[in-house]
Symmetry: C2
Subunit: 232 residues, 2 copies
């Protein structure tokens, strides 16, 4: 099954790319530049493509990103510290981002004769992002089946949609993913900050999976304090 | 109902903009520059926005357009002459175009607090374009309801989805649409060519609606010959 992986360069999508390369016919990685702060992600995606020996296409949708104002990912709003709790993380939502990226990916898959598009949405995102939930994924597939009727039949693969980020780390360890070469931090510094929502979630996922975390964090202990706070 | 109209500057979407301005609260026109040859459309959309006194936003998705190769709309392939028959017009299909544009429009509607997105898909396109059919429209609405759950509730308005292009001309006459200031021709010359699929369809729609066609065509008689050929 010729499969295109949407790869941001983060832990989840790089692991997905390695999984697809092992299980299917990986034909390329697709990244989106929507004016996000954490462009280091894109370097990580490029590294992943080289390692897996497939083309890497970056689609510049900054003009779209600029139109989707009101998100801390693209605007001059402070990125909140802490765990992915609804109140603080709502600000990181780019409206309709997954629907937009998936629709473009399906267009590219059609143009390239691919059979599938794979995306690394996972269970840990459900609460905050409605466009990471299983019912969205099903509805998106149904929409695309109708949109491309007679032209193409493309499957949306989301193997982690019911799993957690810790499950992804476990899977990545199985496929020997070079975790240190993946990028998660929303702040886009030299090293991972260790304090923003995705750094805390990343650190915690390695802990829960019982896998050594090779990431260099500016503040390596913040996550533990934060997770204890959240859980108590 | 605060409504954004996706307006290419063609006859259909300009008529839709006038209809929405009369029946709802039109908040703006949205056009897409995907590297199409017929950019004169975009001037017509700008004219429409000025006339209706609303903002006009052009989203540059040329980078996306370039990735969606294989279409005569964006590539160096000759645009076929003649009626919108499946064989000749398949070549004008940009894969997944409507899903991509609608997804972006829904993101922009969310960011701007709009209640609805209106699109001028119509019955005459069903045969060729699966993403103009009523079942696609329903599936798209369902997908968006799930994608934006908890953030926004945005309706997709497609008043012409069951109508013909002649019905649109009839509707436009009712709303005093300045038809001469709309652009349909895929070839993008100084005047409408009169020979390409959309010119033939435009000319025929005025004829069927019994409305005078103010358009200047380079070849004003080609459509009639072509329609007779198709019908015989």
């Amino acid at each position: 099954m010729k499969t295109i992986v949407i790869c941001s360069g983060g832990l989840d999508s790089v692991t997905l790319a390695h999984r697809v390369a092992a299980q299917h016919d990986l034909v390329g990685l697709l990244s989106f530049d929507y004016g996000q702060r954490h462009k280091k992600e894109l370097d990580s995606a490029a590294f992943c493509a080289v390692q897996l020996g497939v083309p890497h296409q970056i689609i510049d949708i900054q003009n779209v990103g600029k139109s989707l104002s009101g998100s801390a990912l693209t605007d001059d709003v402070d990125v909140p510290d802490g765990h992915y709790e609804e109140e603080t993380m709502r600000v990181t939502v780019v409206p309709n981002r997954n629907a937009i990226m998936l629709a473009i990916a399906f267009g590219i898959a059609t143009a390239n004769g691919a059979d599938a598009v794979a995306a690394a949405v996972h269970g840990g995102d459900h609460f905050i992002y409605p466009d990471c939930r299983p019912d969205f994924i099903d509805a998106f597939q149904n929409m695309q089946d109708r949109a491309l009727d007679g032209y193409a039949s493309i499957q949306l693969l989301t193997p982690y949609v019911l799993g957690s980020k810790a499950d992804i780390v476990t899977d990545g360890a199985k496929f020997n993913v070079p975790f240190a070469q993946t990028w998660s931090c929303y702040k886009g510094g030299t090293n991972h900050c260790g304090r923003c929502g995705t750094c805390v979630e990343r650190r915690e996922a390695f802990h829960l999976a019982g896998v050594a975390d090779p990431t260099v964090y500016v503040d390596p202990d913040f996550w533990h304090l934060k997770v204890r706070e959240t859980k108590s």
